[in-house]
Amino acid sequence: MSKAGSASSDSLEREIISIFNEIFHVTPEPDAIAGYLRFHTVYGPSLLRRKYVDITKIISKQLDLEAIELFLRYCYPRNLLTCKFWVCAYLCEAQQGAPPSGRSRDTWDFVRSPLICLVMLGWFGVRDSTKWIKGGFQVYRHHLI
């Protein structure tokens, strides 16, 4: 059996706390943690079909989660880490709004015109190219897949 399905609830809890803190800059509420654990119970078998990623190692070595996910998404679109990011993003959305509000958090309040928006997209383009290279480097250096 792949290691994907064998994560304990402790390590899953560590996963969601790390993803929430590093990517969404918030602490998960108990309901979000419970939702994350539940997701693994309900959809566990389908996670086994995804490209395995050693998330425990990423967290324990404090690697760049975001960079690794970006690299893996391009090389292995059906990988485990992207899937977990997506679940966390939904749980975070539910935690932050008064769902079902369908609103996403606005941490970029200063962006209010098309021009600044395009500049920001350009900035993300440059930033993410370096992130992609960093992610690839970390994946192979630490044997994460």
Binding site: A94, P99, P100, G102, D106, V111, C117
Partner: protein, 517 residues
Amino acid sequence: MTEVADVIIVGSGPAGAAAALELCAKRKVLMLDIGHTAQEVTSQTNRFRETFGEELEGLSHISGTYLSPKLRSPLFRYVTRGWRELSPITSTDFKGELSLALGGLANAWGSGLYEFDDTDLRGFPIKYSDLSNFYRRLTEHIGISGGTGEVARLLGSVDKLLPPMPLAGPPRALYLRSQRPRAKAFLRRNGIRIGKQRLGILTESYRGRPAYLFDRKDFFLPWKTSIYHPGYTVRELEKHGNLDYRQGFLVKRFEEVTDHVVVHAIELANGNAVEFSARKLLLGAGAINSARIVLESFSDNSSKLPILENPVSFTPFIHFSSLGLKPDETSFTGAQLVLLYDGPEHRDRVQGSFYNLSGVLPCDFLFDFPFSVSGNLFCLSKILGAMGVLQLFYADAPHPEGFLRRTTAGALEVHYPQRRVGKVERRLIRALSRLGFWSAPPLIRYGEGGGSFHYAGTLPMCDESEKNEFTTDRFGRLRCANNVYVVDASTFPLLPAKNLSLTIMANAMRIASKLIL
């Protein structure tokens, strides 16, 4: 013991409800339905459960099973609940959904309600004049809102319409741009017309139902009374005592005995086989399930029946000038505009709806952008509000790869391979870029076979000359039976691009009005 009625209707979707509306004025009608309803789950209060469901079914798409955002939303799950077990389909290329709910698939519909004109009815053995009276009565019964301009008139009569839904966000920007004289002329040269939607949604209170509330919960709260669905008609007729609505019955087959029809059903509460008898039987179980009941009744495993559905595509557009602006909190979450294309890229008229994305959870689109998660989150908060999606429907006609047949195990085998379209989308991308709306061909997504949820054509109405046993005459009577009529879209010999449900309803009323009892 067999229960006896004048008329039995199977199904409470648009077809069954409209037939009942016509018949109940004169007769006592028995309606048999499985009839799942929303009530059983609406008491949930926890916001995680409300958004994703007890079993996180709202996140099923992450595990790879695609379902439209509305149908997978937990409080809408009853709409498609149980059909795979109770009316199974074996298929590799049909990715549709069926409904066994009170009100049928219309519980989740977008409420775009249009009239077929004589161009749309080409190939049907009936004309607009056969339906016009029923369209008018339905418009009054339902409460349809819509524009009254030139485009509106291509969608049906504008008499008795309620005021149109107010526009907001990118659809509003597109509408205003498209109405400028030069833009209008340019669009016209490209075969494009853009107008306001015609919707079964109340913009003012009407017949005891309140006006639409802009709370952006249309994807999460079913049975919002301002949005019409056929369950209201069924409940109304039941209340007035003319309709005997029986929930929890799975109709399996019928047999004709001298001058009446015996309907064999299973009572789902206890699994007992039960029989009902009537002088006339009206099948309104949806184009796929009505065909199933007919094939089952004749134990026919060899006939291949045609199936039609509207090939569909989705093209996202970004309105540059709206980038970075806060999304309009009061915008309507459904389709605000209608777009008609009648030009050289396709032989039939193509019809589309233009939506903004405010009804869906932003995270649905998280990985549709090419950046890191932070970059994509930025896009969700700054670009999503400037985006609209054009959903295009294409007409369909019988073709050899689209068919259904009964298997020896009693299931239904349905085939409908994905059909690639795309030239019209490219033309529209070029044209709308002139109005400040940007898109690119790689962003176009094509619906899988069955993905439009518009099913038709399994028991087509045709003239005497083309008849075979699994066709219907112009009054919906099944040719291989004497007292069995088909009132849903099974009878449509062709499927135009226009959404079909108002015509299903008008045609069901027409057939019901012609019954001689």
